[in-house]
């Protein structure tokens, strides 16, 4: 299991929207994320933190891909989940990642996310533990 964490100040998201408007929103967030957030800066900050935490959990080094290739979606349990496309999905595949879990939290000033990436190589007991 690999873990990634990130913390984002809500005011920085507000600043990006003020400076760059829809260009910021469209480059970073998917249509689903923009709709689900209602353009609420604290929700957008949590979503941004989830994307960055996912990159860390995937062990991104210098791979180039868009922020919108990591999407925060509603999970079946009422929480959140991560959906990967494009370059992020390719990186996850290359790293042997079989599933991702995300936890988000947000307050008025800050939002944070933790992402766990499980890999096939570490699932279940391996040869060493069986011995």
């Amino acid at each position: 299991v690999n873990v990634g964490i990130d913390l984002v100040a809500v005011e920085q998201i507000e600043e990006s929207i003020a400076r760059h408007g829809d260009r910021f929103l469209h480059r970073i967030y998917t249509p689903g994320e923009r709709q689900a957030s209602g353009r609420d800066p604290s929700r957008l900050a949590a979503c941004f933190a989830a994307k960055e935490a996912t990159m860390k959990a995937l062990g991104r080094t210098d791979e180039g891909f868009g922020w919108d290739s990591i999407e925060v979606v509603s999970g079946l349990d009422g929480g959140h989940a991560i959906r990967l496309t494009g370059g992020a999905a390719a990186l996850a595949s290359a790293r042997g990642v079989v599933s991702l879990s995300v936890s988000l939290t947000r307050q008025r000033r800050n939002a944070a996310a933790v992402v766990l990436a499980r890999t096939a190589r570490t699932d279940g007991p391996g040869p060493v533990s069986r011995g």
């Binding site: 480059r27 941004f48 990159m55 210098d62 180039g64 891909f65």
Partner: protein, 85 residues
């Protein structure tokens, strides 16, 4: 690359990277992330550079090696500007 291109990049980094130190204290090769630029600030730098140079960074260029230094940005922007001439 011309000094003016580098100077314009440095100005954008100064205005948008939220570095805790003056950009003049950093060389063109120094790591901006290690100097305190967050990933979110790098997005602001990207968008501001796109405005300044009328370019758009393609997804495959959204790499740490591009945004981690002035020289990395200079090479990428030079490539993008070259493609549009």
């Amino acid at each position: 690359m011309s000094d003016s291109l580098r100077d314009r990049i440095r100005q954008v980094v100064r205005d948008h990277a939220r570095l805790p130190i003056e950009i003049d204290a950093l060389s063109d090769q120094d790591d901006l992330f290690q100097a305190g630029m967050s990933s979110h600030a790098s997005v602001n730098v990207m968008l501001a550079l796109e405005d300044a140079f009328d370019i758009e960074f393609p997804d495959q260029m959204l790499q740490r090696s591009v945004f981690e230094s002035v020289s990395g940005l200079e090479a990428a922007i030079g490539e993008l500007l070259g493609q549009t001439v």
